[in-house]
Structure formats: structure tokens, C-alpha cells
């Protein structure tokens, strides 16, 4: 789960950078950048969840 979370973090950043390069229209660009950030937040949540689960397993 930790790896998947880190993968999503990087994927979200690639979506943001791709939106900059490929979408000149401000509306679409903003939408894709927001989507990229949501993917990053999902990745952060997954890494945090994995950390929490490993903590509970140690206890």
C-alpha cells in the first residue's frame, strides 16, 4: 500500500506537469491540475494509512 501511495504521489505530479504542457486553455488546465492534486492527496492518504497499519501490527 505504501508503494502504491508513493506511486500515486508521483503520478499526480506528472498529471500536473502534463496539464501545463498539453492544455493551453485556462479552464481545462485548472481542472487537470486540480485532478492531479487530488491524486496526490489520495497517495498521501494511502501512505499514511500504510504507516498506521504497520503501527497497529507492531502494537
Amino acid at each position: 500500500m505504501k508503494l502504491a501511495g508513493l506511486g500515486l504521489l508521483v503520478s499526480g505530479w506528472f498529471i500536473v506537469v502534463s496539464a501545463l504542457c498539453l492544455l493551453p486553455q485556462p479552464g481545462r488546465r485548472a481542472a487537470f491540475i486540480s485532478a492531479g492534486m487530488l491524486v496526490e492527496l489520495l497517495g498521501l492518504f494511502l501512505v499514511g494509512r500504510a504507516h498506521r497499519e504497520s503501527l497497529e501490527a507492531q502494537e
Binding site: G12, V16, A30, E40, L44, H51
Partner: protein, 425 residues
């Protein structure tokens, strides 16, 4: 980079002399918020990390960061040149004028960033591995990101290349120092795990109280002076401000911190029945962190608003991180530096001098780069380092305290140390 006038050059030299008060205040805070049996290791560690960060940055860090208008390497993708790393001189050789002021500013800035994870890993992080991880931060991660923001890199050029306002704006280092340090703190806490006795098999986490709240509050006052210097230098060197605009920057810094403190005072009074001194101190620093982004770029009213929101959100954020996410962060560095810094950067997008849709997008791209690129890179680097040399000290070392375990003597030899019976929440 802006070339300072003669008056501003004198001002820069004076402000650079005040800069060390920011890491000094943070070191006091970290020490006071930790346990008494790790106090000497905390302060000695702060000095060691400042030393490692400044030496590594002097040796090759600045050559990767460079300065706006200096030599740099670019990648051409999609018809746009992405300026990603500088080709500056090693050992600060051949610098003069404004580039020299920027280099002097950065040597202290990188030290401040290095102290943020040190506070979060208090009471269990071995000093040796902390020094090596600081070398990675100061010699590789910090200079690259700072080049993108302050050295004329691709984030700074978002305005010119993609018509996004004036490009990513961060005159006081809210992203380059504070959020970067907060992210490093999060990674360190994930890798280290919690302190012994913090999380029980059943029931809520134990409260491990700060050992010296007077250090913490005095650290806040010391940090204030350093932060004023930080924000003023950023305004002169990276935002091109001078004259009366600098006075507004000073006022905004104070208003931001004051708003945050008062908001936290009210929130903790409502939540716990009495104001909580350590959370209020955290909010003061959180306000200063947010001011690093906004002080040079917003009106005084907007700075106060920024501080109030930063301080009001901080106590519940710290509580959620501990109770819901299993994060044991003695100094609160993740929320104080990470969240408050991100909030300040967002405010620049909608209340800043060049506020617009494009500016907001530029700010979002900067934040996305910190979360989506800097965090995974730091995680992998620290994870590999932890595999080679474990970050977490030996359980016996944690039991007797880091002072006795790593230094051989305690910070308060004539005082009686408490046992591990922490107060139930």
C-alpha cells in the same frame, strides 16, 4: 534576482547577522517540547545539524541552486525550456554583489530547514543518522527545489513560459524552507515510528508533556526576530521591495504571528477549558511560517486573516495527526511548518499583490511539486539510509534517554528524572 542598492546592501548585511536567531528559536522550541532526558542531545544536535547543513551547502549545495541569471542547465520539453539545475561554482568561488548576499542568506536558510525534522524525531533519532540525512537534504534536495523557486528555475518562470501570473511566488521561503522541512519531518516520523510508550495496545495515545515550556515560549520570541530578518531579506532579494514596503513586511510578519496566537488561544480555551501553552507556541511559529509566504505580498488585513486561519486550524490539525494518523511529532513540525506553509502559499494566489487565476495555478503547481516529487524523493532517500544505518535508537537508549545514551551525561544532572508513567489523555 534583484540587485540591491547601497542602502539595501547595508541592510542585507545587518539582516543576515540577525538570521541565526530563527534557527536558535527553533532549537529552543525543539528542546523544550522534548523530554528532559534528551535536552542536551537536542541542543547539541541542533548545532551539529546547522554545522553539517552549512558546510555541505557551502561545498556544493549552492552550485546546484545558483542564482537567477546565473549559469543553469535546461531541458527542452514541449517547446519550453525547463530550467532544472544551476551550474554554479563550488565552494562559493567567484561570487560577488547580489549573488553573494543570496548565498549568505541561503546558508542560514538551509540550517533552518534542517532543524524542522530534528524536532519531530526528538527523543529517539540517533544524532549520526540525523547528520547524514541533513547532508542529503542540504546538499541535494533543498538546493534543487530552491533553484526552481529562487534561482530562476522552472517554477519561478511559470509566468513567462505558461502565462501563470508572476510565476510561483515565495519570497520568504515558506515553500523552500518551511514546507520542505515539514515534509522531511513527516518522512522522518514515518520511518522512525513513535516514541516508546506513546501508543498503547488499547486506549488513546499517552500524553508526553513538554519538559520546559519556558524554553518553548522564549524560543518563540527569539524566532520572531530571526523571522523578521528572513522575511525582510526575502522581500529585498527575491521580491525586489524596498523603502516603505519593507515596513509593511515587518508589520505583516507580526500581525500574522499575533493573529495565529490569539486564534489558537481561543480554540484551545474552548477545546480544553484553558489555553494550552505548547499549542499556542506552535501557533505563533505557524503564523510566522505563513508570514514567510505572504508578508511581502499582501495587505496588513490579509496578513492578519492568514494568521488567524493558520492558528485556528493548527490545534485540531495536530490532534488529528496524532489521534487519527498515528503520528508522534513532539515539536508539531509537520503541521506547524508543512500545513501553515501550504496555507500561506495558497493565500498568495488569491490575496497577493498579483492575485489572479493564473497566480493561483502557479501556487498550486509549486505545492504539487513539493507533495508529488519532493516527498517521494525524500522518502526513498531516507528509507535507503535507514536500511544502511537505522534511524531509531536502541530501545535501551530510548529508555535511559538520549543524553545518557549518546552523550554520557544528562542536561540536568542535579534534578530527579521522571519515570515513564505518562499521564492518561
Amino acid at each position: 534576482m534583484i540587485v540591491p542598492s547601497t542602502f539595501d546592501s547595508t541592510l542585507c548585511v545587518l539582516l543576515i547577522a540577525l538570521l541565526p536567531l530563527a534557527p536558535a528559536g527553533l532549537a529552543l522550541l525543539n528542546c523544550g517540547l522534548g523530554r528532559s532526558r534528551s535536552a542536551a542531545q537536542s541542543l547539541l544536535g541542533a548545532l551539529c545539524l546547522i554545522a553539517v547543513a552549512s558546510v555541505v551547502y557551502f561545498a556544493w549545495g549552492f552550485s546546484l541552486e545558483g542564482f537567477a541569471g546565473g549559469h543553469a542547465h535546461s531541458l527542452r520539453i514541449g517547446g519550453v525550456a525547463w530550467n532544472w539545475v544551476a551550474a554554479g561554482p563550488l565552494f562559493l568561488r567567484g561570487l560577488s554583489g547580489s549573488s553573494l548576499y543570496a548565498a549568505a542568506f541561503q546558508v542560514f536558510a538551509v540550517s533552518l530547514a534542517a532543524l524542522i525534522p530534528w524536532g519531530s524525531g526528538a527523543d529517539r533519532w540517533r544524532l549520526g543518522t540525523a547528520c547524514i540525512s541533513t547532508a542529503l537534504l542540504a546538499g541535494f534536495v533543498y538546493p534543487l527545489f530552491a533553484h526552481w523557486v529562487w534561482g530562476g528555475g522552472w517554477l519561478a518562470q511559470l509566468g513567462a513560459t505558461f502565462h501563470l501570473g508572476g510565476g510561483f511566488a515565495d519570497p520568504g521561503g515558506a515553500a523552500t524552507m518551511q514546507v520542505l522541512g515539514g515534509i522531511a519531518a513527516l518522512v522522518v516520523v514515518w520511518i522512525l515510528g513513535p516514541r516508546r510508550g506513546k501508543f498503547q495496545r488499547s486506549g488513546p495515545p499517552a500524553v508526553i508533556p513538554a519538559h520546559h515550556i519556558a524554553y518553548v515560549l522564549f524560543g518563540c520570541m527569539v524566532a520572531m526576530v530571526g523571522w523578521l530578518a528572513l522575511n525582510l531579506l526575502g522581500a529585498v532579494l527575491f521580491a525586489g521591495l524596498g523603502g516603505s514596503a519593507l515596513a509593511i513586511t515587518e508589520v505583516n510578519t507580526l500581525l500574522c504571528a499575533s493573529g495565529a496566537l490569539l486564534a489558537a488561544l481561543l480554540v484551545t480555551r474552548l477545546r480544553f477549558g484553558k489555553p494550552d501553552a505548547s499549542l499556542c507556541a506552535n501557533a505563533w511559529i505557524g503564523g510566522l511560517v505563513a508570514s514567510s509566504a505572504v508578508a511581502a505580498l499582501v495587505s496588513p488585513g490579509a496578513a492578519l486573516f492568514t494568521g488567524v486561519v493558520a492558528g485556528g486550524v493548527l490545534p485540531p490539525a495536530i490532534e488529528i495527526l496524532e489521534l487519527r494518523c498515528g503520528i508522534d511529532d513532539p515539536s508539531g513540525g509537520i503541521a506547524v511548518h508543512g500545513l501553515s506553509g501550504i496555507w500561506g502559499l495558497l493565500v498568495v494566489g488569491f490575496l497577493g499583490r498579483d492575485a489572479s487565476g493564473g497566480q493561483m495555478i502557479a501556487q498550486l503547481v509549486g505545492i504539487a511539486t513539493l507533495l508529488g516529487l519532493v516527498l517521494p524523493v525524500l522518502y526513498v532517500l531516507y528509507w535507503l539510509l535507514n536500511r544502511a544505518i537505522p534511524f531509531h535508537t536502541h530501545p535501551h537508549g530510548e529508555h535511559i534517554g538520549m543524553d545518557l545514551h549518546e552523550l554520557g551525561s544528562g542536561a540536568y544532572p542535579e534534578f530527579v528524572m521522571h519515570t515513564d508513567e505518562f499521564a492518561p489523555r
